[in-house]
Symmetry: C2
């Protein structure tokens, strides 16, 4: 499933150079393993390490950074203030940008969707400023010279952003207004190609969801 | 202001034995300092340390634990798996329990509010199980033998929970079903007395909000 939350974990494992077994989950018929591993939320992703499950994508990312601190680059910098800045932008994307983006796709009315696109657009300008500050000097990634937590969070949305632009026929950002971010998108997409879901796969998945919703609506209207 | 998000930070600073200057903020007329320190969200709490602002309560808690790792007890345990478990329950309270609790107070209809109370009630039973697991052996706090991140998160809601019970005339948890949690509430309230807002102050604040909402509704209906 091309879930951005799952993609976050795959990106982090890839950047750390850690190998893993990818167990696909059918969310229409959840496995016993998922229900036992994440009894509270019953959601993917779950990382099972040393036989113990870790749930919730942001918690998993921190866990990967701490449990494998000796392997590969770190997702978070060493300095407490820099760590706080990275966690601030990670929370911004997790709590705000994702919701605005979902509204742009699944808003109940066309007005709702337009508002979601507008807000995502504004968020991209805010993130342009963050990228300018975070990448001072080296200027390549939110993590500075290498990929960090914020790159993973925003990067996990890239395939969805591109798919949403295809579906809506609207741009979600303006390269002229956010040149650093536009260059970052190119750079990150290239670097993380293997761990990012293909845009076509996201489009197929979106079509499937839309058809399922239409079928459910049709079934409901028949009763 | 008796904000639970501000209380989180005050609790953490108190448990670490750190002194701080408490600058009250009038949210109807935000200070230049707040707007400059937290330009993205313009919200409290903000912790200013070494002249640099840290925003977002969960980010601040992690920062306090990391920047003052040599001072007082740690909010998070040392083992990566135990840290992940604590962060899981912290996120559960931050993202889910707070929303359910807010719904129980501010739900648009009486049905909405009743649903919020029901969900908060169920969450308390889930947290009873978490407390049983987290406090194995020592059995006093979510942090084990001493207060940790989860205690701070849930503890910051205690005065509001008591105030909500007064306002709604309904119990938000049943000590018979959640005996460990009930004992924890007593224990935590006693330990953290100085850092928790008084229930009367929360009630006054809620009355003020309700009156402001009623006045706004009356003004709107006059146009």
């Amino acid at each position: 499933m091309p879930s951005p939350f799952v993609t976050r974990v795959k990106l982090a494992l890839a950047f750390k150079g850690l190998s893993f077994e990818d167990v696909e989950e059918d969310l229409r018929s959840k496995s016993e393993l998922l229900l036992v591993s994440n009894p509270v939320h019953k959601k993917v992703p779950v990382l099972i390490h040393n036989g113990k499950p870790i749930c919730e994508s942001l918690v998993i990312l921190e866990y990967i950074d701490e449990a494998f601190s000796g392997t590969g680059p770190s997702l978070l910098p060493a300095d407490p203030h820099h760590r706080a800045v990275a966690r601030f932008w990670a929370a911004y994307i997790h709590e705000q940008v994702v919701a605005q983006f979902v509204q742009s796709i699944r808003g109940k009315t066309e007005e709702d969707k337009a508002e979601g696109i507008k807000q995502t657009f504004a968020a991209m300008e805010t993130l342009e400023g963050a990228l300018r500050d975070c990448s001072k000097g080296e200027g390549l990634f939110f993590g500075g010279g290498s990929v960090g937590l914020v790159d993973v969070l925003l990067g996990s949305l890239l395939s969805w952003l591109k798919a949403a632009e295809v579906i809506s026929g609207t741009k979600y950002f303006d390269p002229v207004k956010t040149p650093l971010l536009a260059a970052w998108m190119e750079r990150f997409s290239e670097l993380a190609k293997a761990a990012l879901p293909e845009v076509e796969r996201v489009l197929e998945f979106s079509n499937m969801l839309a058809m399922a919703a239409a079928a459910a609506a049709a079934a409901a209207s028949e009763n």
